[in-house]
């Protein structure tokens, strides 16, 4: 089984997690930029955080044979913080063309404040300008209202509906989002919120089209294998292999590759963590005639 894990905060996970994820079939892990459990007090902290997602974490994942990609953005919680909000959004254009960035996110709403709405809209516009999809975090409380408000803002921004993934959905929100054309994300947690049996029931009722599931694992109680566990439960519930593959691989690959930031072929092949392999048999160039380039003018 090939898995594209479309929402995992790997900076807070240990190497055992990478190993278990790889062994369960994870080929690609997408890390959305989010908050770190407590507010950051300066824009510089975001610079270093974004650089970590683009550099070190990508290299760390490659060491386990997993492609690491990310979405970057100002999360809705810190959108309320005037110490950082404007500065981070101003910083984003410098990051959105970077290699490994496959979208803008997590952006969206949390407490549904005016500031959250303002910076959510501004970042949807950035996604449009850089031809990137948007990964949208929705409120964990008052879901129905939150989804409706997110959809209003998404429509106002003019971004294509099929470039938007509305995450953290449940039985209630499927009814709202199903006909809108957006992709629907579900975070599967071990104890609370959406668990694998609930997810399988939703899939049985609505099918897998435009559905994406993730573990949303982070520094809290969460399970980096919950995508695999849900897929196994689907198999027990006699879903076809094609449907399972589409849910855990085909759908996220399609959504995040459509704007040219990655391809299925690239993501199906393990990444290199060293150049050595590419150079095998290539370094032994000795005693050959040497072409001279360039002259000091």
């Amino acid at each position: 089984m090939k898995i594209f894990e479309p929402h995992a905060h790997m900076v807070s996970r240990v190497t055992d997690d990478y190993e278990r994820m790889r062994d369960s079939g994870v080929r690609v892990v997408l890390e959305p930029a989010f908050w770190l459990g407590q507010p950051r007090t300066s824009v510089g902290s975001f610079v270093d955080y974004f650089d970590t997602l683009l550099g070190w974490e990508r290299f760390r994942a490659a060491g386990f044979g997993i492609h690491h990609v990310c979405t970057l953005g100002l999360n809705p919680r810190e959108a309320n913080d005037d110490r950082v909000n404007a500065g981070v959004v101003e910083l984003l254009p410098r990051y959105l063309e970077k290699n490994g960035v496959v979208g803008v996110g997590e952006i969206g709403l949390d407490d549904m404040t005016a500031k959250e709405e303002r910076w959510f809209l501004a970042q949807l516009v950035l996604a449009k300008e850089h031809d990137l999809p948007a990964l949208v975090h929705t409120p964990h409380r008052n879901k129905r209202q939150g989804f409706l408000r997110c959809l209003d803002i998404i429509r106002d921004s003019g971004i294509r509906m099929d470039r938007v993934l509305l995450d953290h959905g449940n039985e209630e929100t499927v009814k709202i989002t199903r006909e809108t054309g957006v992709w629907q994300g579900f975070s599967i947690y071990p104890h609370t919120k959406m668990d694998p049996p609930r997810m399988v029931a939703i899939l049985r009722q609505y099918g897998v089209e435009r559905m994406i599931i993730n573990s949303a694992c982070d520094w809290g109680v969460s399970d980096p294998l919950s995508v695999r566990k849900t897929a196994d439960l689907m198999a027990e519930a006699e879903f076809g292999v094609g449907d399972i593959d589409r849910l855990v691989w085909g759908n996220p690959v399609q959504f995040f590759s459509e704007t040219g930031r990655g391809t299925e072929a690239e993501w199906s092949t393990p990444p290199a963590s060293t150049l050595g392999a590419t150079h095998a048999g290539n370094s032994f160039l000795r005693g050959q005639s040497v072409e001279t380039w360039g002259k000091r003018a």
Partner: protein, 242 residues
């Protein structure tokens, strides 16, 4: 200023078109370069160049370590006459691909580029790809690094188990202190029951460090086929540079 007509010639029509697209976006503004340089690997592609030794300015380098995007970036840097400050800024704000392109270009000795700052950046991070891109596959380091930087780079290459043959010019830079460090490192590896760095053998053959020679003599008697193959490779390498 260095003229480099052959560099563009290494790119295909479509790769040149990708480069032109990015150069138009950059328009020789460093602010724009900080945004758009990252798109070069996607626009130009990552085709691997054929192995070939070329002499670029003062340095000899192996083009087989370069990809089309690395060539395109070097063309952009040369045509924009970028100096050290601009390149270090691109490294500092760059992603893995950008740092790889900047690291590769270091060996071209661009403009006023005093490379130690970039060497320092590349040495002080753990991403092996960036270490390789910046330090290996040319003789730039062997030519210009001071003894301290040189020894640190060779020891890191040993620690990462990289191919000594990719450190062009190593045979000209074998100070006693470095050989002593390699002998210590080999002893440490042996004590831990791990194989020694194969580069140690060629350095033992070319240098005159008694501890390294003792190790080589002992390992020549080994019946382990991997050790025998490594010593055979080292012999070929040592003969080719002697």
């Amino acid at each position: 200023m260095i003229a480099w007509p052959p560099l563009r010639g290494r790119l295909s029509e479509s790769e040149l078109a990708g480069l032109a697209w990015v150069q138009a976006k950059i328009g020789n503004s460093q602010t724009q370069r900080l945004v758009w340089l990252a798109s070069l690997p996607r626009r130009v592609g990552k085709r691997a160049l054929a192995p070939e030794l070329v002499k670029a300015g003062v340095a000899t380098l192996n083009l087989g370590a370069w990809r089309a995007a690395d060539v395109a970036a070097a063309v952009e840097f040369i045509e924009a006459s970028l100096g050290e400050a601009a390149l270090v800024e691109l490294w500092d704000h760059g992603d893995q691909e950008e740092r790889r392109m900047v690291g590769r270009s270091v060996c071209l000795g661009l403009g006023d580029l005093a490379t130690p700052l970039l060497w320092d950046r590349a040495h002080r991070q753990n991403d092996q790809i960036l270490f390789e891109a910046t330090f290996l596959d040319s003789d730039h380091l062997a030519r210009l690094a001071d003894d301290e930087v040189w020894a640190r780079a060779v020891l890191k290459a040993a620690f990462l188990n990289l191919d000594l043959a990719r450190l062009y010019g190593f045979e000209r830079r074998l100070p006693d202190t470095l050989q002593e460090c390699l002998a210590d490192f080999a002893a440490e590896r042996r004590a831990a029951g791990r194989p020694v760095w194969p580069g140690t053998y060629a350095i033992a053959m070319l240098g005159e460090n008694p501890r390294l020679l003792t190790l080589l003599t002992a390992d020549r008697r080994s019946t382990d086929p991997t050790t025998q193959a490594q010593i055979a490779d080292a012999t070929r390498l040592a003969e080719s540079v002697r």
